[in-house]
């Protein structure tokens, strides 16, 4: 049976002026079937990323592995008051980049009351 394991991808998180960015190292996800193998979901302020590694070797006589076939999984908790649901996702060179725009309506909500 093939070994299946769950890995937590390494991530960098960056806060820009208008958005948060998450960069997750998820190499080896087949981009031919990207929507099948990689998913990003947001539910109740929890962002959940999942990706299936598609590592195929030729089964030669000898082998040594530092990484295995399996699945990347990681979740992030975000304040729904800060982050809007319009998340953009982009997969390139084995890195998943997510852009989480900050809610613009936050600023608009603050109205100045005049006595």
């Amino acid at each position: 049976m093939e070994q299946t394991q769950v890995f937590m991808p390494s991530v960098d998180i960056v806060e820009g002026e208008n958005a948060f960015e998450i960069h997750a190292d998820m190499p080896g996800i087949s981009s031919d079937k990207i929507n099948e193998n990689l998913s990003v979901e947001l539910e109740n302020g929890v962002l959940f990323i999942k990706g299936k590694v598609d590592f195929v070797n030729q089964k030669l006589t000898n082998s040594r592995n530092e990484f295995l076939n399996g699945e990347y999984r990681r979740s992030f908790k975000f304040d729904e008051k800060v982050v809007s649901a319009e998340i953009k996702a982009h997969y390139s060179n084995g890195v998943l980049k997510l852009i989480l725009p900050k809610r613009k309506d936050l600023k608009n909500k603050i109205s100045i009351q005049v006595a």
Partner: protein
């Protein structure tokens, strides 16, 4: 690929010796640069038989032009740089960034002109055919 039945026995010992060499040199290299095993980058899977060796690297976030591979006999060196430039405040930083270098001693010298490289989705695979003159030769036994 089918296992060569002739490959059993002594050959396997020879190859596992090669394997130890491979990982020994790799560890020496890493300790030389003061990098802990956990921080190894790029991670590498390797497989081989008596015809060829294939190395697979997990190399996320690196552009093709920032990877340099050198072959010298049975030693393969991979050098490169992962360039990361974010605009904004970095809240969390776990990914490897900067220069990397790893060295591997292969089980045999390879035909450097026939190496095949595939770079896709942050994975690099190198197929390294064994140098013809290093392949085992059958020795005829003459009976007097």
């Amino acid at each position: 690929m089918k296992t060569d039945p002739n490959f059993n026995g002594g050959s396997i010992v020879g190859f596992s010796h090669g394997l130890n060499n491979l990982f020994d040199s790799l560890f020496q290299n890493d300790s030389f640069f003061g990098v802990s095993e956990r921080a190894k980058y790029p991670l590498c899977n390797v497989e081989w038989d008596d015809q060829k060796a294939i190395l697979y690297f997990e190399i996320p976030g690196v552009e093709k032009n920032d990877i340099d591979i050198q072959l010298e006999g049975d030693v393969l060196t991979i050098n490169g740089e992962r360039k990361i430039a974010y605009s904004g405040k970095v809240i969390q930083s776990e990914s490897f960034a900067g220069k990397f270098s790893r060295k591997f001693r292969l089980p045999y010298a390879v035909e450097s002109d026939s190496v095949q490289a595939v770079f896709k989705n942050g994975m690099l695979s190198l197929t390294l055919p064994r140098k013809a003159e290093t392949k085992p030769k059958k020795i005829e036994i003459n009976i007097a």
